[in-house]
Amino acid sequence: MIASILKQLGTLLISLLGLTVLTFILSQQSDTPIHPYQSDSAFIQYFEYIQFLINGDWGISSIHKRSVLKDFLQHFPATIELIVFAMILAVTTGLALGILASTRRGGWLDNTLMTTSLVGYSMPIFWWGMLLVLLFSLTLGWTPVAGRISFEYDIQPFTRFMLIDTLLHHNKYGFDAFLNALHHLILPAVTLSTIPMAIIARMTRSSLLAVLKSEYIRTARSKGISKQRIIWVHALRNALQPILTISGVQISIIMSGVIITEYIFAWPGIGKWLLEAVSRRDFASIQGGVLALSIIVIAFNLVLDFLSIYLNPRLRRPS
């Protein structure tokens, strides 16, 4: 176990090294240096750059003239809100659909679900988002086109999580503001969750089918345990392992998707902020945004690795 943890830490070090070299190169593209370096040598400047990062000085945005780290932290909750909501949607629906399909293998439901998930898998998210806007916002008028909340609500950003902030304004607007925020959140979240949902549904189905073939399930069945109990109690636990393993891929897909989703729905999060920085060549913000988003992905993968070491006894033993 210690060996595999050390290996993980080694990977982490290489990751951080590669990442900071990339963002250092990014920060060097700026016309005016984003940090006051003492040395002229790029090699020593890199170490000074790391020192600045650790001290929390991520540079000043050339457009907004504000601290990049502060800017990032202000936009981040909007993105987190969208990602968490979309992830909940993707995992619950994806698991449910996958389980449903595996219990009725080969039936019309299974075939429909698998075809749909293949379609979902091939869907360009930027087109999907626009189709949803066209149908639900512009034609049916069910959901707002863009933004996080309607203009008539004056919400003080306490936590910057709109769903929480609107609840904190409960005595001013009742639940109206909260529902309005939720209403704004639905369509972007559906857009973002579609592809992960399709992948989770397919994975759940195939992994559950593989587990259901195994000997211990046959034993359980021969003991007369009900089909429901076999799936929920005996099979699902083991079937979830490979699904956990691909969650790392999911976070990459979500991170790429959230940039496009925010762009389509004018969602004031990190993705939109980063794209604006790229198009206006604000290298301090680009460097900070790439750095922060990557650290999140790396941290997520690290937690996931530890979790699977913890959950899988075979990985725990020293090889």
């Binding site: 087109w127 626009m130 198009s279």
Partner: protein, 291 residues
Amino acid sequence: MIKLPVSANNRAAWTIFRQNKGAMIGAVILIIILILAIIGPWISPYDPARQFTNKILIPPIWSPAGDFNFFLGTDDLGRDILSRLLHGARLSLQLTFTVVLIAALSGILIGAGAAFLNQTLRSLLMRIMDLLLSFPSLLLAIAIVAIIGPGLPNAIYAVVIVLIPQFVRITQSSISDELNNDYVMAARLDGASSLRLLSHHVWPNITPALTVQLTFSFSTALLDIAALGFLGLGAQPPMAEWGTMLSESRAFIQFAPWTMTLPGLAIFLTVLSINLVGDGIRDALDPRLNR
């Protein structure tokens, strides 16, 4: 495991592939799209950049307001959408082919080299590849475009760099797997050189895995190029690139939905058919993975 001669394997694979309905449908759609992309410039009614200033935002002909001269309608500048889609097919597929070809060649070379490196160097290289793989591809592409600047050539470089690690990983791991087999050891004891081992013994056995990877990278490359075009970081207007066309249509979704639905449909159908074919090839080449 019994290793069949490659040609027998291929014939068996084709039999399985042919029975896969989805894969065959995908193959047919893909072939049609390829043909359209190749003959596109000759059958497209107009020049894709030509602006009919008195024919702006004409809907496709199945709508009552349609015009027979413009089968799929026109966009906000009065350009014929059918012509733009046909030229776009050629452009998008050409770009995708180029990107995948460069990425595959460099990735396979690096991966094959890595398989013969010593333990420390190889594991260092593979860690770096894992790092690149764990990165959100679009974020990496955006970071690269941010360094070298927006525009089509730079977007192409970015997507190539994003795709390379996948080929390195799969080449290296399948070569390492094969090298542990007894038949390779037998050949090595017979005095075969590393290069001969690689080309005569290992290569035929890793081509299935590489073929599957190759197919799926076509859909990844197509999507990423279109996404960068859509975000304004890749191909720039007035280029008839599908992602760029989608991006230009954003302002007119409500009044002229066809300017958005049609280019998107083109991207979607191409990606879907590639994925269908990819699924079919994977199931055919590796029956053990068969569901």
